[in-house]
């Protein structure tokens, strides 16, 4: 039996002579959690990388001690994104590792010039994930990246969580590398990204206290619209919500409405929604019908009333319908009149329904879009008053 010694020698040689090529322990890596892209001087690109300091980010888990800062932010410059990232290595003591990057923030300046290089780099690179959130900021990205925002230890994580739990507000689309490259690569669609901005909403102790606090926090609200790879416009909060209907991202949303009788407000939370977009093609005219049905909860009623819930619901339903309709019409108005940009992908709906007519209209779609008739029908049903079995009655008649 010579074969066993031979095999063991081969195995031994294989294991010892190959060494540990390609082995990089997790503690030899600089884990980037958020990155910002800005325009630098002379057409250069500025990369701001937020890198986690694991020992500080995870309190007692290891042997702590040190600066107390959970992150280290560094800025590097270069002609291209790749060069800038490589330049980071000049002063990073560990290899910069992108596998755990959660957020890419693009400044508005860059976005307006075109983000084709960003899309290319972040989809081509094998370390980056397609589930990385991509946002546009109106400020400098390098101002936003180092800001300590949210409850999480790492700001990148805070922004990540902001996306995950944003449906409750429904004011910004969930835009990740996947949806961006899809919007960019597909025919007759245009990409969109969420907008993030700094607002002084946090409170730090022992300093002058303006009305809304003194700590800048990253706020996720609004949508940046692109024509091909160039940013052309922005949607504000209500228009954004209208926009979310079209990309199918409204799960729950809180709608504040004015109570018609008496002084006060009510809040409605949307629960089950169905949104149907029906393309029509008659006499060479493209038009769309939107049927939106929603079942909602009454979550707040700030006005005491003598009415029963049935009466209240019949009173509130038309107001809710009007509000949602207004959202969508504001959006359509902006898209059709102001930007003349089919960001909501009506072309794909039309193409799917009428492939036979698509060739007739595809070349003129951008010209046709502003004049398309889009009819919105909203029907809302409020069914659930939550825990109160009877409406709050006025104490004194």
């Amino acid at each position: 039996m010579r074969i066993i010694p031979i095999i063991s020698i081969i195995f031994f040689v294989l294991v010892t002579l190959t060494g540990c090529l390609g082995k990089e322990e997790i503690s030899d890596l600089a884990l980037v959690t958020a990155v910002g892209i800005d325009k630098g001087e002379q057409e250069n690109i500025l990369i701001t990388a937020q890198i986690a300091r694991p020992a500080e980010a995870r309190g007692d888990a290891g042997a702590g001690g040190g600066t107390g800062e959970p992150m280290w932010t560094a800025i590097a410059e270069g002609k291209t994104i790749f060069e800038a990232i490589r330049n980071l290595a000049r002063f990073s003591s560990r290899r910069v590792y992108w596998g755990h990057n959660m957020v890419i923030v693009i400044s508005e300046e860059i976005a307006e010039d075109g983000i084709v290089d960003v899309i290319d780099f972040f989809t081509r690179n094998n370390e980056l994930r397609m589930r990385t959130w991509i946002l546009v900021t109106e400020e400098k990205a390098r101002d936003l990246i180092p800001v300590k925002t949210g409850i999480e230890v790492l700001p990148g994580e805070s922004i990540d969580h902001l996306f995950r739990y944003s449906p409750i507000v429904a004011e910004a689309p969930k835009s990740d590398a996947m949806s961006l490259s899809m919007g960019y690569l597909r025919e007759y669609t245009h990409p969109y990204l969420a907008l993030v901005n700094l607002k002084s909403r946090g409170i730090a102790e022992g300093e002058d206290m303006p009305e809304f606090g003194n700590l800048p926090q990253a706020e996720l609200s609004g949508t940046a619209l692109f024509r091909d790879d160039k940013m052309v416009g922005k949607l504000k909060d209500r228009e954004s919500r209208g926009f979310l209907w079209f990309i199918g991202e409204v799960e729950t949303a809180i709608i504040p409405i004015e109570f018609p009788e008496g002084d006060g407000n009510a809040s409605i939370e949307l629960r089950d929604n169905s949104f149907q977009l029906t393309p029509k093609y008659e006499n060479g005219e493209v038009s769309f019908d939107i049927t939106l049905e929603t079942v909602a909860d009454l979550v707040e009623l700030g006005v005491p009333t003598g009415k029963s819930y049935d009466e209240l619901f019949t009173l509130l339903e038309p107001i809710l319908e009007d509000y949602i309709q207004e959202d969508i019409e504001m959006l359509l108005n902006k898209l059709q009149q102001e930007y003349q940009l089919d960001s909501i992908g009506l072309a794909t709906y039309f193409r799917a329904k009428f492939p036979q007519y698509w060739d007739d209209v595809k070349d003129d779609w951008d010209e046709l879009f502003p004049d398309m008739a889009i009819v919105v029908n909203v029907s809302a049903e409020i069914t659930n008053p939550q825990l109160f079995r009877l409406p709050t009655k006025p104490v004194k008649e």
Binding site: S27, L29, L31, A61, G62, H100, E127, L154
Partner: protein
């Protein structure tokens, strides 16, 4: 004269010559008892009784051999009778020993003495009587140390093969229960018995077992593992293809499933063949508790198996090669723990595994009070101090501890040790080659396991090859009313339970109120 030549001789007719020869063969040991006396007073026939003190029961000898022979007056003169006739006279009138046989040469005579029989020589006869008076100190039947159960019988095998076969026979009152005996070991002459139920067992299986046992040439068999290693299908594999157990109920259950049990004298561990991989994850408890609980426990054990086999290698692979596969939060926690650890993950894992194995091995062999001290000191050193000193990361301690505990959750201790052994090649391969190494070694292991056979049965059956009928008692245990058939290895008589055994009120009402 050589010993072999001496053994070949037939007995002499002179009593004194026989006794001297036996004493010279055995070297006049101090425990050889020789009792000379005369029987049948009229003729004063000389007789001599030889036995080994401690193997033969002297009380029995006194009461059933000496007293009847010395007090009974035998009327007939037996001088002229042949051995066979003397045997009849002695058996019918004189001796009260359960079994008497006649031996004619020194070889058989010595064997009889060494087996604990008493050898009775009568002057002028060229034959001797071997009287079975075996009786030596044995351990009583106790609860087995391994394979303990919460519910179920608490008797375990002992060192006496006769007691052991009786323990099994008490569970199988089937006339087709068969025992075949033999002796293995040139010098030890260890009694071996194979048992099976005829009609359930495949006949070629019995032949195969007998053939493998007969091929054994060894000087001594001290424990059933000697037999196990000599009849193993895959002697170089880390997987066990023969199962040993201390529990009579396990052996009985195996025989009802058409398996063959191999009893070895002087050990409480009885072997059962063929053995499938999955049987190492089954305990007797599985059959003595509710089937849902039993299936759940089995599920836990399979998880324990996967963990004890792969967890450290999986961890090492992720941390040193595939950081992108770790969820971000966890990656940060791991990185934080490793921040001041000076060793590569692989070395760290091997270090901790070594520390754990040391603790386990030290704890097992030590007397109980010291064993506890070892485990306390060990867990303090390895658990807390090593982390505080920054030698290992806290997550590695968790990984190794979980792996260790998981390996203890595998019921068969020897199987769990063999899994622990396989773990190291996988660990080293993943530490050097990442996912590639992990996958390669794991696939090699699976290929190897599938290629194994245990006495003609595929080792991984009923999954490889797939047999849907036998699945009723592998991953889960179906309730007894749902397992109607025996496993597929059983030949003939496949039905083990009647149809429609599921208890239900409707069925009862039908019979009770039938008018």
């Amino acid at each position: 004269m050589q010993l072999e030549e001496k053994l070949e001789q037939d007995f002499f007719s002179c009593l004194q010559q026989n006794v001297t020869e036996i004493e010279s063969i055995l070297g006049s040991p101090s425990d050889l008892v020789k009792r000379d006396f005369t029987i049948v007073e009229q003729v004063n026939l000389d007789a001599s009784l030889l036995y080994i003190d401690g193997l033969a029961d002297s009380d029995v000898i006194e009461n059933t051999i000496l007293r009847p022979l010395l007090t009974n007056e035998m009327n007939e003169s037996i001088t002229a009778l042949s051995s066979e006739q003397i045997k009849q006279v002695l058996t019918k009138k004189g001796l009260q020993v359960p079994s008497i046989s006649i031996v004619a040469n020194f070889n058989d005579g010595i064997d009889a003495i060494l087996a604990g029989n008493a050898l009775l020589f009568v002057d002028q006869y060229k034959q001797a009587f071997s009287l079975s008076v075996q009786g030596w100190e044995t351990r009583g039947i106790e609860e087995p140390q391994s394979d303990t159960v919460l519910r179920g019988p608490r008797d375990g095998f002992v060192e006496s093969i006769r007691t052991n076969t009786a323990l099994v026979r008490r569970r199988i009152r089937d006339p087709r229960f068969r025992i075949q005996s033999m002796q293995i070991g040139k010098r030890s002459k260890t009694d071996i018995a194979i048992t099976y139920i005829e009609g359930l067992v495949r006949e070629d299986l019995v032949d195969e077992v007998l053939q493998r046992l007969n091929n054994i040439e060894i000087d001594a068999v001290l424990e059933s593992n000697y037999i196990e290693e000599l009849i193993d299908d895959s002697p170089t594999s880390p997987f066990l293809t023969v199962q040993g157990t201390e529990r009579p109920d396990k052996i009985a259950a195996g025989m009802y499933e058409g398996k063959v049990a191999i009893f070895v004298d002087n050990t409480p561990f009885v072997l059962i063949v063929p053995t499938h991989f999955w049987t190492f994850f089954q305990t007797s408890d599985d059959y003595y508790t509710h089937y849902t609980t039993a299936s759940y426990f089995r599920f836990i054990r399979y998880i324990a198996f996967i963990i004890s086999l792969t967890l450290p290698s999986f961890f090492v692979m992720l941390v040193s090669f595939h950081q992108e596969m770790i969820p971000t939060q966890l990656a940060l926690t791991i990185a934080a723990g490793r921040e001041i650890v000076p060793l590569p993950v692989l070395i760290e894992a091997l270090l901790m595994e070594t520390a754990f194995e040391l603790m386990r091995e030290a704890g097992i062999r030590m007397p109980k009070p010291i064993g506890q001290a070892v485990s306390i000191v060990g867990s303090l050193v390895v658990g807390q101090a090593a982390v505080d000193a920054g030698i290992v990361s806290p997550i590695m301690v968790i990984v190794v501890a979980t792996t260790g505990i998981a390996s203890f959750a595998i019921p068969d201790y020897l199987a769990s040790v063999s899994i622990r052994l396989i773990r190291f090649p996988i660990l080293i391969a993943s530490g050097f080659l990442g996912l590639l190494g992990f996958a390669t070694t794991f696939v090699l292991l699976v290929i190897h396991a599938i290629s194994l056979r245990s006495f003609g049965e595929p080792y991984m059956a009923p999954y490889f090859p797939f047999n849907s009928r036998d699945r009723q008692d592998t991953m889960i245990r179906k309730p007894f009313w749902a397992i109607e058939t025996r496993p597929a290895d059983v030949k003939g008589n496949e039905q083990r339970a009647g149809k429609n055994q599921k208890p239900s009120p409707n069925k009862r009402r039908k019979t009770r109120y039938k008018r």
